[in-house]
């Protein structure tokens, strides 16, 4: 396997610098967040935190495929839904404990991602994006219609797994940490360079000996297993799943895209910011605006595409650069140099 190009290495040297600088804040944040349930017992607050961790985990796993490997998936609801249903059906139909159900959720997503990836990666760009969306819809229809196995549109109702929200708080926090760590390790490893090389120019990456087809599949598999795990834990948490909910294109698949893009596509901190913005904003809007909140969500998607395509992170960096470059230019504004 040929090493990635030199220019790529130079432009990505920040990753090496970040390695030490990011592990410490990560550990500190985890310790602080793990201590929160000891102090706070407000159920609504814990619920918000669980949602926040879930969207961090989903945003990170989507970002690995979409942001780093450049394969924009509009159909990750397929893996979320499969994970949720694997966990739900194993628990309610076979009595298998939720812990194993969650692992099974990840496993089912991995298995499903193989044929889905094999087919979808024959297409590039928007064709890929929409074909994988098609698969998500197929799965939704199959789950809706296969009533003997899945209860169809009625959905799967769980008996409560835990009486309190605290175990879910820790589980989702753990998942958010796991996905963040996995993305970090992958992105700073050789694999991460291959992903970015494929994103920048698939044909050049191929020409340099990177087997784009298999590495795209690797990116999808990692992304899918993480999404499947999150879906399974979500199912156990909300204790009720139905096909339009967990296989939802707008509420799951597109929301994952929005979380990753709002923060900053292909950045490590992006999904963290995106999750905070989306969860907090949608919660505030839901409580204050009622029915109109979906309209505001739509407006938010359009505004992000229109005004900050590189996300909040890129937007603030651009503002910062503009501000920094303005300072010397003011100093240089002497009559002689102006307009030259």
């Amino acid at each position: 396997m040929a090493p990635p190009s030199k220019t790529l290495l130079i432009s990505e040297t920040r990753a090496g610098v970040l390695r030490l600088g990011m592990v410490m804040p990560f550990v500190v944040t985890m310790v602080v967040l793990a201590a929160v349930p000891l102090v706070v017992s407000d159920s609504y607050f814990l619920h918000l935190a669980i949602l926040l961790f879930m969207w961090v985990a989903l945003g990170q796993s989507w970002n690995l495929l979409g942001g780093y490997a450049g394969q924009i998936s509009f159909g990750h609801s397929a893996f979320f839904g499969l994970g949720a249903y694997a966990c739900g059906l194993l628990f309610t139909k076979a009595g298998i404990p939720v812990g194993f159900g969650v692992l099974a959720g990840g496993l089912v997503s991995v298995v499903a991602a193989l044929p889905i990836g094999w087919i979808c990666f024959r297409l590039r760009g928007p064709y890929f994006s929409l074909t994988i969306l098609g698969f998500s819809e197929i799965l939704r229809l199959i789950v809706t219609n296969w009533r003997d196995l899945t209860n169809g549109a009625v959905g799967v109702l769980f008996p409560p797994v835990f009486p309190s929200k605290v175990p879910f708080y820790f589980t989702m926090l753990g998942l958010a940490a796991l996905t963040t760590a996995v993305c970090y390790i992958v992105v700073t490893s050789k694999l991460g360079y291959y992903f970015r090389a494929i994103r920048e120019d698939e044909d050049s990456a191929e020409a340099m000996g990177i087997n784009a087809a298999s590495y795209k599949l690797v990116a999808l598999e990692i992304s899918a297993v993480l999404t499947g795990l999150v879906g399974a834990v979500y199912a156990a948490y909300v204790a009720y799943i139905d096909p339009p909910g967990v296989f939802s294109v707008p509420d799951v698949a597109i929301a994952m895209v929005v979380v990753a893009i709002i923060g900053g596509l292909g950045t490590f901190v992006g999904p963290l910011i995106g999750a905070v913005v989306v969860v907090v904003l949608s919660e505030v809007m839901r409580t204050t605006l009622g029915h109109v909140h979906l309209l505001v969500y739509a407006a938010m998607i359009m505004l992000v595409v229109l005004f900050m395509p590189e996300g909040i992170l890129g937007f603030s960096r651009r503002l910062g650069r503009r501000w920094r470059s303005r300072v010397p230019s003011i100093a240089q504004q002497t009559p002689g140099t102006r307009g030259s």
């Binding site: 098609g134 893009i261 407006a299 395509p309």
Partner: protein, 292 residues
């Protein structure tokens, strides 16, 4: 499996296919000229449906007559979207995925505006001919389906002649073939984009009017139609208007055959399976490569 059932299935499939072709043609035209997959296409169709519904309940205007209102209205809406939302993003050189996301946002906004105006309830429109049928050799044929099919064919034919015979049609085709060359020849590409997107929206609006006597309307009804339009577009070869006609017929036939001989619940799945097979085996579409 006697011959009458087969004939019945094929006739129903062909007629339905004509309607799918109409929504596919609009999406295909927009894709062919602008390279945008318009995820709001089905939602524009939904707006067309509600326009018709509103005209019918307020003034008892016949759904087929209301095409003359819904199509121009959607044309206007399409112009506005292209001028103020899609156009600026195209000019900023954003990747195609951003554009898809933008059209998705437009669609979501349309769904919610309609939901606020008309509530999320399912709406059906009852006309005296809604359930009328006639028989040809033992095969029963639904009157509204035939009328919708004929009008859809008429609109598709009109679009075809517009693209082939008129000056504006020629400039649209030129832009589809080579955007830069068209620009160098003095074609105002931005204006062509506005017109194309508006025509695509108007076709969706017209389809909405034709569909209303056949399908129920709800604000959420657009999504499945967008996917069908996309399938038709891919079947026909992305960006080919003639191809979209073939693609629509094929999808209609497949769904109809699947609903009769496999399972009615899986008719949408069958559409997807055909779509994926075509992508794998003939990525350039059923009728080969051709632009608009």
């Amino acid at each position: 499996m006697d011959a009458t059932i087969l004939a019945q299935t094929i006739v129903a499939g062909l007629l339905l296919g004509g309607l799918y072709a109409l929504i596919g043609v609009g999406m295909s035209l927009v894709f062919g000229v602008m390279r945008i997959i318009n995820l709001a296409h089905g939602d524009l169709l939904m707006v067309g449906m509600y326009t018709t519904f509103w005209l019918f309940t307020s003034w008892q205007i016949d759904p087929y007559v209301s095409v003359v209102v819904s199509a121009p209205l959607l044309f206007l809406l399409g112009m506005i979207f292209q001028k103020f939302l899609v156009g600026p993003v195209i000019r900023s050189g954003a990747p195609e995925e951003s554009l898809i996301l933008l059209t998705y946002g437009i669609g979501l906004a349309l769904v919610n505006v309609v939901q606020l105006m008309f509530t999320a309830n399912y709406r059906t429109l009852y006309t005296p001919y809604s359930t009328a049928t006639f028989f040809v050799g033992g095969v029963s044929i639904s009157v509204p389906l035939v009328v919708a099919f004929l009008l859809a064919s008429l609109i598709s034919a009109a679009l075809y002649f517009f693209l082939i015979k008129t000056g504006m049609g020629r400039t649209i085709r030129a832009t589809a073939q080579d955007r830069d060359a068209a620009f160098l020849m003095g074609i105002n590409v931005d204006r062509i984009y506005v017109v194309t997107f508006a025509i695509g929206a108007a076709l969706a609006g017209a389809a909405g009017s034709l569909f209303l006597p056949l399908f129920y309307a709800s604000p959420q009804v657009g999504g499945p139609f967008t996917l069908k339009a996309f399938i038709v577009t891919v079947l026909g070869g992305m960006g080919s208007v003639m191809g979209a006609l073939v693609g629509g017929i094929v999808l209609g036939l497949m769904e109809s055959l699947g609903a009769t001989y496999v399972n009615n619940a899986y008719r949408d799945v069958i559409g997807f399976v055909v779509f994926i097979l075509v992508l794998l085996l003939r990525p350039s579409g059923l009728v080969g490569k051709s632009k608009v």
